[in-house]
């Protein structure tokens, strides 16, 4: 279980995340939503230890994440950020194989190779696994990075706007894969999403931030409501039910 307790992060004197406390239930997809600059990515970075919090703490299994051995932590929690510029030439397969580093320390066993094969198959990258990353489109590259995180085989998977650069088909494909990872393999996914409808359709729980503060935290059906969304986005958004999916029609509100 991941517990976030009173987390605050200042950039200079300006708080970008202020006194946020959340508990992440295992075996669920939790989406972080909110306007630009709400502190969603910063919060995710602190949970995954990429950033140090100024006050407050993040606990994984009741132990502060800062106290975890980095290598053991990497077997439990993985994070993928948005910008991934790499200036070495790597093939897709080599990148995905890096996901096994916490286990193999660079010497892949046949079990590791199997995880790599599975992750590549999962993300539908079989045909391009020997291509260099710089030969791929933005979306293909993004899928390769997600495959790396899947190969890492962690209980918790943290993703910072993974649908950026992706077309509709691949966005849906990735959200379905995440849903499968949770439903079939019992993983826990925390994801920062820009498109509120993906959050509505695929997540179990939604955490909404605004100006660094937690404004809503609850099951998806409680958050995807016109009055809750008004508190988050300052917009009146009608909700339509489409075969059990609640769709926010925000385009002309």
């Amino acid at each position: 279980m991941i517990e976030i307790k009173g987390l605050t992060k200042l950039f200079g004197k300006k708080p970008v995340v202020e006194d946020v406390s959340i508990t992440i239930e295992p075996g669920t997809i939790t989406s972080f939503i909110g306007p630009n600059g709400a502190g969603k990515s910063t919060l995710l970075s602190m949970v995954s230890r990429l950033l140090d919090a100024d006050t407050g703490e993040v606990l994984l299994d009741r132990n502060n994440v800062k106290k975890w051995n980095s290598s053991e932590f990497a077997k439990r929690v993985s994070i993928l950020k948005q910008a991934n510029h790499i200036n070495v030439r790597l093939t897709v397969r080599e990148l995905v194989a890096f996901g096994r580093y916490p286990y193999s320390k660079g010497r892949l066993t046949s079990a590791d190779e199997q995880f790599v094969d599975q992750a590549i198959a999962y993300m539908n990258l079989g045909e391009m696994q020997d291509k260099f990353l710089d030969e791929l489109s933005g979306g293909q590259k993004q899928r390769a990075f997600i495959a790396m995180v899947i190969a890492q085989d962690t209980e918790y998977i943290l993703l910072d706007e993974p649908l950026n650069n992706l077309d509709m088909k691949h966005s849906v494909q990735i959200m379905k894969i995440l849903r499968n990872l949770v439903d079939e393999l019992g993983k826990t996914v925390i994801i920062v999403l820009h498109d509120i409808n993906f959050a509505s359709v695929y997540s179990d729980r939604i955490v909404a931030l605004k100006n660094g503060r937690l404004v809503k935290d609850g099951p998806t059906h409680e958050i995807i409501k016109t009055d809750s969304l008004r508190d988050i986005f300052d917009m009146d958004i009608p909700i339509q039910d489409q075969n059990g999916c609640r769709i926010c029609v925000y385009f002309n509100s």
């Binding site: 950039f11 790499i86 070495v88 080599e94 890096f98 580093y101």
Partner: protein, 318 residues
């Protein structure tokens, strides 16, 4: 992968050919006189080549660029600062000049300290990009350079000649007493390097991806910064600064051996360095007949290569 090991074998053969050529070609006078002296120079060149290649490759991995080298952080200038300070305040006959170990130790200590202060000062907050470090290093380098020139103008002319001899890279007068200590340092650096090769590979994915995979990134950056400064200090103390040498060997290695594996890159860059130094020194001695020094040639070619890389990079960016 077998293709790369083939390339490394070719480089190794080339290095051995250069070394044999330099060791045995046209020995005039007594063999017993010339041969040990040539071997000493070869040893110094091999040590220098490995130290610079190693430090440049790891430095470029942590700074995630392929153009800037440790000398850009002002490390070469720092060496000049230390030496100029010693000559200015203690004079050319002081123990700090005459005892080469003391001199060497002081230079290494100050250079590592300089790298660490830069690190403490800039990395304390986790939002500073590494480019800021490089920019400040560049400005400091220029500042220190001007300051050194100022002091050198005031120094006694006799002291100045002796200082200049120390500051210009020259493989003809290798400080052989420093060679043993350099070999020892290189040996320790390799033992450490053997343990971090796989971590370096992961670090080339960038800070966030490396941390995700369990690398204590910031601590590793600091360790590698120290490693890099010690190696540069070693080679600078041994043969003087050769600014553009690291840039050439590292980039040729990246181009020739397309891989992310540091064990291969560092080995390749070192071998290219040995070919360039020993082969170059051979040319200087037997073709140019010592009318120039190797550092001058390397900096000339390296400078042109540097401009080429800058133009290529800006075209790729634009």
């Amino acid at each position: 992968m077998p293709k790369n090991s083939m390339k490394l074998v070719i480089l190794a053969i080339l290095s051995i050919v250069c070394i044999l050529l330099y060791a045995f070609y046209d020995i005039k006078g007594g063999f017993d006189y010339a041969f040990p002296r040539r071997m000493l120079r070869i040893a110094a060149m091999v040590v220098t080549a490995i130290a610079i290649a190693y430090s440049t490759v790891v430095f470029q991995t942590i700074t995630r660029n392929r153009i800037l080298t440790p000398s850009v952080m002002g490390l070469d200038s720092m060496y000049e600062v230390v030496q100029t300070f010693i000559y200015f305040f203690a004079g050319s006959l002081s123990v700090w000049v005459l005892n080469k170990y003391l001199n060497f130790g002081a230079a290494i200590a100050v250079m590592v300290l300089f790298a660490l202060i830069l690190y403490r000062f800039l990395f304390r907050a986790d939002k500073h990009p590494i480019y800021l470090l490089l920019l400040i290093g560049m400005i400091l380098g220029t500042l220190l350079g001007s300051f050194v020139t100022f002091l050198q103008v005031l120094i006694d002319p006799v002291d100045y000649l002796s200082l200049q001899n120390r500051l210009f890279g020259n493989f003809m007068n290798v400080k052989k007493d420093l060679l043993y200590i350099s070999v020892a340092i290189l040996f320790i650096a390799f033992i450490y390097g053997y343990r971090i090769m796989d971590k370096l590979d992961v670090m080339s994915l960038g800070r966030e991806n490396a941390m995700n995979l369990g690398i204590p990134y910031d601590r590793m950056v600091m360790n590698i910064l120290i490693l890099s400064s010690v190696l540069i200090a070693t080679s600078t103390a041994l043969v003087g600064p050769i600014t553009f040498f690291g840039l050439i060997v590292a980039n040729l290695a990246y181009q020739y051996l397309v891989t992310y594996r540091h064990s291969i890159l560092i080995l390749g860059a070192s071998l290219i360095g040995i070919v360039a130094l020993v082969g170059g020194q051979f040319l200087v001695e037997h073709i140019f007949e010592l009318k120039t020094t190797l550092s001058v040639i390397i900096n000339f070619i390296g400078g042109i290569y540097f401009i080429y890389l800058l133009l290529k990079e800006s075209r790729a960016a634009g």
